[in-house]
Symmetry: C2
């Protein structure tokens, strides 16, 4: 079986346009051709980030890029507040501790949203806080956190920078960086961009850049001040992920042709259709407030999520993701971030129905697909 459907929350399928561009002869990163591609790509990235600030490219995956975003704008003796609620939110607390910072970790039950009041309380208890980190769309739980509300609290009640991991949120939910007052925002190549992993994108506010001058965390490859200086001249400090940048230009052109609102609406609709389909099949959703990037779906007792993932892959060529940690036995995650069409969602749901039946669930065949179809029909009406 050669036809594969990848519906994990990253890497996401690479559009043919980008694959063909990547298959062309590679170019030198110090020549004029790359300079032109890079300059254009940087402009388009700023469009997606909705920022006046330069968007830097970091040749590392999302974790490395967000780590760079944390250590360049803080100091070793800083207190930072890291909002948990999932594997990725909690990861930033680990990064903070690895750098010896005083980390205040906000406990959020997996599946629930972080409450602005909780952030306000933590800021009141730690007025010295230098940075608040939030994973906007928590890929491990399928939750979308109230970014705008939390941004407001951070701005009004503190002098802290607000750093947002937008790795699976950008291009899916509206996240106008400057308008929301986000100080550090990070995206990853293998998510909404639909290009290979290994490159991250990062922008920072003016006041964040001012603080970067005083950071005392040791760093070299991740020194963003050096990168900023170079990248404003359409160069990079070190050899960049040339191939991913070439692909980024292609997919950003596609996004701009589609339009920002249409891009967000396509994700919203595919997510709504997926959720409607899962619910119609008698499954439940983990997320209190779901992200439009990925649906975290809980199986009824007695059904094994790893078995379901395996059947989907082996029998139908459909790759979905399993759950993390304690949720591993009973959760599946269906990704709909990236260049997905309605047909992809319908494929996922129809094969999910077959796989659930194979696992012994009493499935109302077609119910999931029908529910999704109704979502699409309603949107067209």
């Amino acid at each position: 079986m050669s036809r594969k459907y990848l519906l994990a929350p990253g890497p996401t399928p690479i559009p043919e346009e980008a694959r063909l561009a990547m298959a062309r002869s590679i170019i030198h990163h110090r020549g004029p051709e790359f300079r032109e591609v890079f300059a254009d790509t940087r402009q388009r990235l700023a469009w997606l980030f909705e920022t006046e600030q330069p968007v830097l490219t970091v040749t590392a995956s999302g974790t490395g890029t967000f780590e760079a975003g944390m250590i360049n704008f803080t100091r070793r003796d800083d207190t930072i507040i890291c909002i948990g609620g999932g594997k990725f939110g909690e990861r930033w607390a680990e990064v903070g501790r690895a750098y010896g910072m005083n980390v205040v970790e906000l406990d959020v039950e997996w599946g629930k949203v972080a409450r602005p009041e909780q952030v306000a309380e933590a800021l009141a208890a730690h007025p010295e806080c230098a940075m608040v980190t939030l994973t906007a769309s928590e890929t491990s739980t399928g939750v979308m956190h109230p970014v705008a509300e939390i941004a407001k609290v951070v701005q009004e009640q503190s002098n802290a920078l607000f750093a947002v991991d937008a790795i699976t949120a950008l291009g899916v939910h509206k996240l106008p960086m400057d308008a929301l007052g986000i100080d550090v925002m990070v995206a990853g190549s293998q998510k909404a961009f639909g290009i290979p992993p290994g490159v991250g994108f990062l922008a920072a506010s003016e006041r964040a850049w001012e603080r970067a001058e005083h950071s005392d965390h040791p760093r070299y490859y991740f020194d963003l001040l050096r990168e900023k200086k170079k990248q404003l001249g359409e160069q990079t400090a070190f050899t960049p992920g040339v191939t991913q940048i070439i692909a980024a230009q292609v997919v950003l052109k596609m996004m701009m042709e589609e339009g920002h609102d249409a891009l967000i609406e396509r994700h919203r609709l595919n997510a709504e259709a997926t959720r409607a389909g899962a619910l119609a099949l008698g499954l439940s959703l983990l997320a209190e407030s779901p992200s439009d990037a990925v649906s975290a779906v809980l199986l009824p007792d007695g059904l094994s999520a790893p078995d379901l993932v395996r059947i989907m892959r082996e029998r139908y060529g459909v790759t979905i993701a399993g759950g993390h940690d304690a949720l591993k036995p009973k959760m599946i995650r269906i990704g709909h971030i990236g260049f997905f069409e309605r047909s992809d969602i319908l494929t996922a749901l129809s094969t999910l129905e077959l796989a659930l039946a194979e696992l012994g669930m009493d499935v109302d065949a077609g119910a999931g697909v029908r529910a999704a179809q109704q979502v699409y029909a309603k949107a067209q009406a």
Copy 2:
């Protein structure tokens, strides 16, 4: 003009086999298909590194990977000796200083080799030295340093780890890591591998791994102990450069089919032909002991290297590299690292002749090509 020849010392041209593999549907890094590719690639990397140790993949370009190799096996209060002699050798001293280590920088004139006696003296003056760093093939000067001799000095006269930046040396010169007693060795995807930049490969000796347990440099993304644990299970700690790893498997298969000795001999011969061609044209070489990865060629007075690079690119579609820093006005660098054939070298030399003539040099047309042909003919005899 659509036909392009890239003869820079990295990125290097990507073989069609790898480009086609990269153009296939991307796979999930947590699935069994990736695990299989990764396991096989790791075995093949160990073949090229000539090591019994695991070769880790780091999703970063060469600088980030070598930085990881420096900070995971040392401590903040360590003294390290960094052997200079070019842009890259000197970079590792900058990294050491960025992490607050006591860096002893060995001055080596650009174009000259580092002398083992010089290293022995430095070690005698700093018996506390914890690491010696060396860029085996110095891309900025085209010099190949005496790695084996320096390795011997480090082993015999100190307890220091020997960390070798083999980014443009591995796959070009014979560098059997274990046999030479190299403690940390780093390679980069966009060099001999001929795959896109953005992934580095790193192996470390047993005694280096023991020291890693005591490193106190702050790090998270570059924490190699975590990576080692994960990668021994054919997984990575964070989303890896999936596309580059798929391509790495393809090119490593090609290298193994060619054979290690043949791979080295092909590079040696192409380098010798390039050098013979340059000399026959009345140009000179910067390197006292040349690397077979790249030829650093000095132009006669009055000829502008940037102009030559531009003419080669604009008129003939041939990209070669310029010089760094003070050598910028009068040096060109012709890369022959990667999947180059004799035809590529002959193309470079024949267009170089035309470009030199266009710049006003009195060129004996065909002399460079003829000298290269003689090298090839002699090898076949």
